[in-house]
């Protein structure tokens, strides 16, 4: 649904986006992460046909960027970093205006549909300037969906929202995915990206890493399982080290931290070995590296993927 080949954007001497090559499948939620000033918004603007690339090519929803821009704009919806609503106009009027610009046939019907879907119907006649931040974000999302786009670009969809509002937005993004829409999301919220995204790209003017969240974790970090025991000792650690698939064992108070490749396959054997050795196992859990760990490692030590 989205494909870029060596997409590049330069502003004079400054290279904002350099040789970006990615592919986003239809119905996927794609996370685009990077520090401030990395070129995420510039990338998003190129894909939404707002600005032209300096070099390279991109196809969005089957249309070529910088060649079929009007068709792209009809096929994509965009939530900009700032909601960009007309504060003095009502919610209904805001959406009606954009529905007209998006060439929607049944303006009133679509406006009502999305206002109801996002829980804003009762406030439809209120000025957008009176809305809370979360409501403004919902209204901006409704604006991006009026024309039923195949691709939706979201630039920081939950930034500045309270936890409840952020959760509602995330749930709504999940619903959009279930509808088969392709979501391209720029976000600083790594936990959100971890939960929502099928693939993640880490970007800092150029692509640093691209894969599923789990694959990125596996690639950068070993898998570790923590066995909480009533009492842990070096003797138990030595027993585990004899197992061929165990790479390392750390003893920490009453815990054994075991490094291995495939916990799902080998955890039962480790449990049996510990029980046979007389250990009382209280509980077992995997040390799950966060996406933040992946992000920090990748951004600080860039490696081309």
């Amino acid at each position: 649904m989205i494909q870029t080949i060596e997409l590049t954007k330069r502003f004079g001497e400054i290279s904002a986006v350099e040789n970006l090559s990615i592919s986003v499948e239809s119905g996927e939620v794609f996370g685009f992460l990077g520090p401030n000033g990395a070129g995420k918004t510039t990338t998003l603007r190129m894909l939404a046909a707002l600005i032209s690339p300096t070099q390279g090519t991109a196809n969005v929803a089957g249309y070529r960027v910088d060649g079929e821009d009007d068709e792209i704009r009809r096929s994509v919806g965009i939530l900009t970093e700032s909601p960009g609503l007309y504060d003095r106009l009502s919610a209904e009027r805001n959406l009606s205006f954009f529905a007209t610009l998006y060439e929607v046939e049944d303006v009133a019907g679509q406006v009502e549909r999305y206002l109801r879907m996002l829980g804003l119907w009762d406030r439809r006649r209120d000025e957008a300037g009176t809305f809370s931040r979360g409501m403004r974000q919902k209204l901006a999302i409704a604006r991006a969906l009026l024309h039923e786009p195949k691709v939706v670009f979201l630039d920081e969809p939950t930034t500045g929202l309270d936890p409840e509002a952020a959760r509602l937005i995330r749930e709504f993004i999940g619903e959009l995915r279930e509808q088969g829409r392709t979501i391209f999301m720029c976000t600083h919220n790594l936990d959100e990206a971890d939960k929502l995204c099928d693939h993640i790209a880490i970007f800092n003017n150029r692509l640093l890493a691209l894969d599923t969240p789990d694959a990125l974790r596996r690639e950068l970090f070993d898998r570790k399982v923590v066995f909480h025991l009533r009492a842990a000792g070096d003797d138990l650690a030595q027993i585990l080290l004899k197992l061929p698939y165990v790479h390392a064992v750390e003893t920490m108070e009453n815990k054994l931290v075991v490094t291995l490749d495939d916990p799902v396959m080998h955890n039962p054997e480790i449990v049996r070995a510990l029980v046979d050795a007389g250990a009382d196992i209280q509980f077992v859990g995997e040390v799950r590296r966060t996406l933040e760990d992946v992000y920090m490692h990748t951004v600080r030590e860039p490696a081309k993927k």
């Binding site: 965009i78 900009t80 007309y86 003095r88 106009l89 610009l101």
Partner: protein
């Protein structure tokens, strides 16, 4: 056309909620219309006005009076000065509306979502231009109509009203006026691309009235005589100016320029 109309209607719905804009669009024409009528009334009720001679009037202007007596010619002279105000309105009002319309959108960051739609920059600019030009032109024409009726009721004789409806002033108000309004919008677009505050944009764009003020002072001092020839030359000049400034404005109003170079 649907999109252009939607943009213009949105502009009117939004911009006219700004009290300052509303004040400019409503109050300014009112002042420009009422002031000359008050002056005319004052002249007529002045003791000895009927005995006024033309000796203090510019000699070039006296030639335009024809068979008018001194009082009539004096009133016609006053009316002529105020007529230029009806060319000032189509410059001042669009500048105010366009400045708040364009810079306002830049400040509130509402332009980007609009640019993300399939609307063309020409449609967007046309919608904003219509939103600024139409109220200005209508206010000018309404003000002129009221002024003409008031002059007919107040002035010394019908000869003065006849002069108001002279081709010179009809072209000035009904042809040159809209052309001035278009130029004002184009200048406002150019200034707005650099300004960050609507009031700054408005004040800078108001410089567009300077040439007209020069004509005004030229007429008052007798250096310039507003006749058919001058009005026709001004009309032709404005067609050229409008074309050039429009092309510059369209170039400045391109998506990439707005998103990356507008400060």
């Amino acid at each position: 056309m649907i999109k252009i109309r939607a943009i213009a209607q949105k502009e009117w719905a939004e911009v006219f909620k700004n009290r300052f804009v509303l004040f400019t669009v409503a109050f300014l024409p009112l002042i420009m219309t009422a002031l000359p009528l008050i002056v005319l009334y004052g002249m007529r009720t002045f003791d000895g006005f009927s005995d006024v001679s033309t000796t203090d009037l510019p000699s070039e202007f006296i030639s335009l009076c024809g068979d008018m007596n001194g009082a009539e010619c004096s009133q016609y002279f006053v009316v002529s000065q105020f007529m230029l105000l009806f060319m000032l309105l189509p410059l001042a009002i669009p500048v105010t509306i366009a400045s708040y319309s364009i810079v306002g959108e830049k400040a509130t960051r509402t332009l980007e979502p609009v640019l993300a739609t399939p609307v063309s920059t020409l449609e967007l600019l046309s919608g904003k231009a219509i939103a600024a030009v139409v109220p200005a032109v209508l206010a000018t024409w309404l003000g002129f109509t009221i002024f003409a009726i008031g002059t007919m009721l107040i002035s010394e004789s019908v000869k003065i009203t006849g002069r108001l409806l002279d081709p010179v002033w009809l072209i000035a108000v009904f042809v040159l006026g809209p052309l001035l309004a278009i130029a004002a919008v184009n200048v406002a677009v150019m200034v707005s691309s650099r300004a960050t505050d609507p009031r700054v944009a408005e004040q800078l764009s108001m410089l567009v009235v300077l040439p007209l003020l020069a004509v005004f002072f030229g007429q008052v001092t007798g250096l310039i005589l507003i006749n058919e020839t001058l009005i026709l030359w001004m009309t032709l000049a404005m067609i050229v100016v409008d074309t050039v400034t429009f092309l510059i404005a369209v170039r400045l109003f391109q998506r990439e320029t707005i998103l990356t170079r507008w400060k």
